[in-house]
């Protein structure tokens, strides 16, 4: 309860700072006051377009995160079998990690519709992080403990539960959380670039083009709040999962 109160107070203080800044800058055309933005946000919340756009964007990003997660997991497992497989995939992963989002958007959008481009971009954000973390977790499993398991002929399932999962889990969870925020950012940025017909990105793009900066700020606020909510939900879920799978480790 105390934490909620403290957070609310901090948020309120930042809103006041915003208000003061907007009054000082005195360019309501391009830097609106928080009051105007919040009012506009409430107006938007009453429109069906708001929920449609939000759902579509959310759906694309979730799909991208899921595919990125699963593919990161799969390739990491594959690479953990042999160093040669890892070496084979390394150049691909290096390219995916270092190419700027915008370059990918331009390339991919020529071949694939705007909607799927977004999914692809989110996959690109999540995949390298998840892959690297899970791979590290698998490789980093204590070799001595593995030897012990071999000697005592402990079945694979038990090895998984007692060794691999607890070893990989912390890496996996942290990678998931950091890549979610990234996927949101990159996904919305990609939407602004290739403007799918129903998306948050096209709303932001139109708001900028039509010089409707109150709308622009309102939508940005929407994206920030959605991202925070999503991270909160995932954190809670991960906590639940880790409690379920990791405390029951038996050797």
């Amino acid at each position: 309860m105390k934490k909620a109160l403290k957070t609310t107070l901090i948020v309120f203080i930042w809103l006041v700072i915003w208000l003061v800044a907007s009054l000082l800058i005195n360019l309501p055309l391009l830097f609106p006051s928080p009051i105007d933005v919040l009012v506009r946000l409430f107006q938007l919340l009453g429109t069906s377009e708001f929920y449609l756009s939000t759902m579509f964007s959310f759906g694309r990003i979730i799909l991208g995160i899921t595919i990125g997660l699963l593919s990161g997991l799969a390739i990491a497992l594959l690479c953990s079998i042999s160093k040669h497989i890892y070496d084979f995939f390394m150049p691909l992963i290096a390219i995916v990690k270092s190419t700027p989002i915008v370059a990918f958007v331009f390339l991919v959008n020529l071949f694939v519709g705007s909607g799927y481009t977004i999914v692809f971009i989110c996959v690109l954000m999540v995949f390298p992080i998840v892959f690297a973390n899970i791979y590290q977790g698998i490789i980093g499993t204590d070799k001595n403990l593995l030897e012990l398991c071999k000697v005592y002929k402990i079945p694979y399932k038990k090895r998984l539960k007692a060794l691999y999962l607890p070893g990989v889990a912390p890496y996996f969870f942290s990678s998931l959380l950091s890549s979610i925020g990234l996927a949101w950012k990159a996904g919305i940025a990609a939407e602004i670039l290739c403007t799918p017909r129903i998306s948050i990105g096209i709303e932001i793009f139109n708001a900028k083009t039509y010089i409707e900066y109150i709308d622009l700020f309102a939508w940005i606020l929407t994206v920030v709040i959605l991202s925070l909510i999503f991270e909160l939900v995932v954190t809670k879920l991960l906590k639940l999962l880790s409690n379920k799978f990791l405390t029951k480790a038996e050797v």
């Binding site: 959008n109 705007s114 010089i211």
Partner: protein, 330 residues
């Protein structure tokens, strides 16, 4: 037999050398099979009752205009002669355009200039065409012009009797065709042959010009016409349109060789960049009662559509100059 062969060879050589001399103008069909099928400026003029398709203009801060009528009058004269120079000397203008960063390739710019309909209109001629254009755009997409039409004080008329004095004017222009007519003025300013003392800024985003106009750091800005109306509305009338600098720059490219007139667009899918090109096309098609599908989401930015056209990925596309020249040159 030998004689026939050598004559044929001679003829072939002759023809191929002759074709080298026609290299300056872009071939009617480019390597991907595209033709410039329609000129949307022409199509607009057919349905517009004498007013013109006006896509680019210069606007001024109203406060600055009121305080410096003489300087504004001098600017209008200098801008007009800059535009006239550009049309009369496309090659030299192209080089100036590249020199001042308004476009990156002087050859493409020079090729595009005749198709860009760079023109100068002020006063009542400007008002007639501009208000008609804004009314048309308002009927298709009200938000693009700021949700309402500007009142009469949006259209600047100069005072002929005032003395043309000089002052410092901060001018900003978009790169691309909106700024083509400005290059000669920039050259004149740098050689100190102008009445006014100018400082220039070339930007790639209208938002920067709008911000400058709003906070007073820019006095005159070259903007697309609908953005000008939008700024007028959003600043509650603090800007005025001084002059038109570009008529229409949109063309329809066709790969299928089936579009010979506007009516041939019936039932087809036309790719167009989002915003203005789509709105203008919609208006023209509606005025002619033609039903066609306009896709402005697959390649929503002009750059994306240009790339798609360069790779032959679209059958029919609407593109602005100088992208048209760029594509046709491939």
């Amino acid at each position: 037999m030998k004689k026939l062969l050598s004559i044929t060879l001679l003829c072939v050589m002759l023809f191929s050398t002759l074709s080298l001399f026609s290299c300056n103008t872009p071939a009617p069909t480019n390597s991907n099979g595209y033709k410039v099928a329609l000129d949307l400026t022409d199509e607009w003029n057919k349905i517009s009752n004498g007013t013109k398709l006006v896509q680019g203009c210069v606007v001024i801060r109203k406060e600055f205009a009121e305080q410096n009528p003489g300087a504004v009058s001098a600017f209008l004269d200098e801008y007009k002669s800059s535009i006239e120079y550009t049309n009369a000397n496309p090659n030299e203008a192209g080089e100036l355009i590249e020199k001042y960063g308004i476009d990156s390739n002087s050859e493409i710019a020079s090729m595009a200039i005749p198709n860009c309909n760079i023109a100068y209109m002020e006063g009542s001629a400007m008002k007639d065409s501009l208000s008609a254009f804004l009314t048309a755009m308002h009927s298709i997409a009200p938000a693009s012009v700021g949700n309402k039409l500007p009142s009469d004080d949006f259209y600047y008329t100069r005072n002929d009797t005032v003395e043309k004095t000089g002052t410092t004017i901060n001018v900003a222009t978009l790169n691309g065709t909106t700024g083509y007519g400005m290059a000669k003025l920039m050259e004149d300013a740098s050689t100190n042959t102008t009445t006014n003392n100018y400082s220039f800024n070339v930007v790639s985003d209208p938002t920067m010009i709008i911000a400058g106009l709003a906070n007073g750091s820019i006095d005159i800005g070259a903007l697309p016409t609908n953005a000008a109306s939008n700024v007028y509305n959003k600043t509650n009338g603090k800007v005025q349109a001084l002059a038109i600098n570009t008529l229409g720059v949109l063309y329809v490219l066709d790969k299928t060789d089936s579009v010979k007139s506007l009516a041939d667009l019936e039932g087809k899918t036309i790719y167009a960049p989002a915003q203005n090109p789509t709105f203008i096309l919609k208006y023209i098609l509606a005025a002619n009662n033609i039903n066609a599908t306009i896709d402005s989401t697959t390649y929503s930015s002009p750059n994306a559509l240009e790339t798609a056209a360069e790779n032959g990925l679209v059958d029919i596309a609407v593109l602005p100059e100088p992208k048209v020249s760029n594509v046709m040159n491939k």
